[in-house]
Symmetry: C2
Subunit: 238 residues, 2 copies
DNA sequence: AAGTGGTCTAGACCACGGT
DNA sequence: CCGTGGTCTAGACCACTTT
C-alpha cells in the first residue's frame, strides 16, 4: 500500500488484491459503497472513484439496487469476433461445439511455457471443433494444467456442453477473468484441412490465447485455427 | 438536448456538438471547468464527469495546469500494430514512407461509398509504400475527396513526408479524429508481389480503413496490404 | 503569483431491485 | 418499505504549468 498514491488508487489496489484472493464469491456482492467508505475511512465519493476504475478494468460489474459483483469473463464464444459465415446462407444458425478428443499428456513447449508448467508435468489436451449450422468454422487445441482440472479428465465428452468457461467454473471452481490473444496467419496443415473440411492447403488465421484467473495464474492455453477466407475483424480506433 | 438524461450526459452531448462544429481550434484549450460550470449552471463535479466521458471516448485530452484540448489522432503509423519486422535484423531501423504515385480520377466503388462521393466525382489517388530499413512492409492505396484536399493535387511528391495526417492538418486544415478498420486475409496480386518484393503470390493481410473528422465526415479511405508472414496482432480481452 | 486540472469531503436526493 | 448504486452539489486543498 503506497501512501504516496491517491487514496482512490490505494483503495483500488487493495480491492484488486482482495478480489484476487477470492475474498468474495462470484454471486455475493462486494461490501456496499457505504460500508467500504466506513471501513477504509474515506468519503463515499472516493470509494465510487476506486470502483469506477475497477469497473473500467473489467474486474467488477455494478447493478443499481443490487450491488457490485465480481465480473465473469464473457468471451468464451468470442472467436466469432473474427470468423464469420454468410448469415443469409445460414439463417438463425446457432454456434455449436464438439469435443473431438481428450488426452492426458505432455503439453507442447508453447503451452507449458504459457501455463508455467515444468517440462515433466502432464496436462489435459482437448481437441474441439466449433461449428455454425453443422459447418466447421474453427478447430481448437486446448491445454489445461492437470492439477485444478482433474474433474475434466473423466467427464464424458458429451457432457462438456457448448461453452467451456462456465464448465471450468461449475466443475473445477476455476474462473477465467481475462485473456491475452495473439493473431497470426499461416497455412493449413493436413490435420486442419481434415477438421475444417478444406479443399486444399489454404491460408488460415491462427489465434493463440492464454486465459488467466482473477489472481493472475494462467488457467488455459489454446490455439484456434480457422479458414482465412471467413476471417474479418472490425475495429474503431481513436 | 434531452432533458430526461442526466445533466452530465446532456453536457457531454453539447460539448461533443461544439467540438464537431470546430468551435475550438486544436491548440486552444476548452473553457476551464470553472467557466463551464458557470456557463451551464451545474456544479464543477458534474462538469468533470462530463469531461471524464469525453476523455474516455478519446475526444479530448487533459493536462493538469494547462487545460483540456481537442485530441489529435495518433494512429497514422499504427499499421505497425499489425506488421512487424525482425528487430534484431534491423536494429534502430526507422519507419519510412514513399509516395509512389498520385493521380486524379474516379475512385473505386468501395472508396466512393466510404467517402460518400457520387459516381461521377473525382478523387485524389495516392499509392504509398511503407518501409523499415529500406525493406518494403506495407503497400497502400489511398483515396481522398478532391474538394478539401486540392492542395495535395500539386504538392511535389517528395514534400509529403512520412506521416500523412499531420500533412492533412497543415496543408488542408483537415483533422482526423477517429477511424474504422477492417482486417481480412487475401492473396497477393501481381501489383502487390512487385511492390512488396514477394517471391511468389503469398498470403497477405488487408487492412481497410475509413478515417473521419471530428464532425463525423469521412476524410480518407485507404486499403493497406502487407505480407501475412510479418503479421501479428496481440490484444488483451476482458 | 495566478490559473489550471486532480483529489477529496460530506452531505442530498433519485432510480431501481428485492422484501 | 428499505437498501442498493446513480446523480448532483458546494465547497476545500493539492500538484502542476505558465506568467
Amino acid at each position: 500500500m503506497d501512501s504516496r498514491l491517491p487514496r482512490y488508487q490505494q483503495l483500488r489496489d487493495d480491492l484488486t488484491r482482495r478480489i484476487a484472493a477470492l475474498e468474495w464469491s462470484l454471486n455475493d456482492p462486494l461490501p456496499t459503497e457505504q460500508e467500504l467508505a466506513q471501513t477504509y475511512d474515506v468519503a463515499i465519493g472516493t470509494v465510487r472513484k476506486a470502483i469506477d476504475v475497477l469497473e473500467q478494468e473489467g474486474r467488477v460489474e455494478r447493478f443499481q439496487g443490487r450491488g457490485t459483483f465480481i465480473r465473469r469473463a464473457t468471451f468464451d464464444q468470442s472467436l466469432f469476433r473474427f470468423f464469420r459465415f454468410n448469415a443469409k446462407a445460414h439463417p438463425g444458425a446457432l454456434p455449436q461445439s464438439r469435443i473431438l478428443n481428450r488426452e492426458i499428456g505432455r503439453p507442447p513447449l508453447a503451452a507449458a511455457l504459457a501455463l508455467g508448467l515444468s517440462e515433466q508435468a502432464d496436462g489435459i489436451h482437448l481437441q474441439r471443433l466449433r461449428l455454425i449450422d453443422s459447418q466447421p468454422l474453427v478447430f481448437e487445441n486446448i491445454w489445461l494444467p492437470l492439477a485444478p482440472f482433474t474433474a475434466l479428465a473423466d467427464l464424458p465428452l458429451d457432457a462438456f456442453g457448448d461453452l467451456l468457461y462456465p464448465l471450468y467454473e461449475k466443475r473445477c471452481g476455476q474462473v477465467v477473468a481475462y485473456a491475452k490473444e495473439r493473431l497470426t496467419v499461416s497455412t493449413a496443415r493436413a490435420e486442419d484441412v481434415e477438421a475444417l473440411q478444406l479443399d486444399t492447403p489454404a491460408p488460415i488465421v491462427v489465434v493463440e490465447r492464454t486465459a488467466f484467473g482473477h489472481d493472475g495464474r494462467p488457467l488455459e492455453w489454446r490455439i484456434s485455427r480457422g479458414n482465412a477466407s471467413h476471417f474479418a475483424y472490425e475495429m474503431e480506433i481513436r
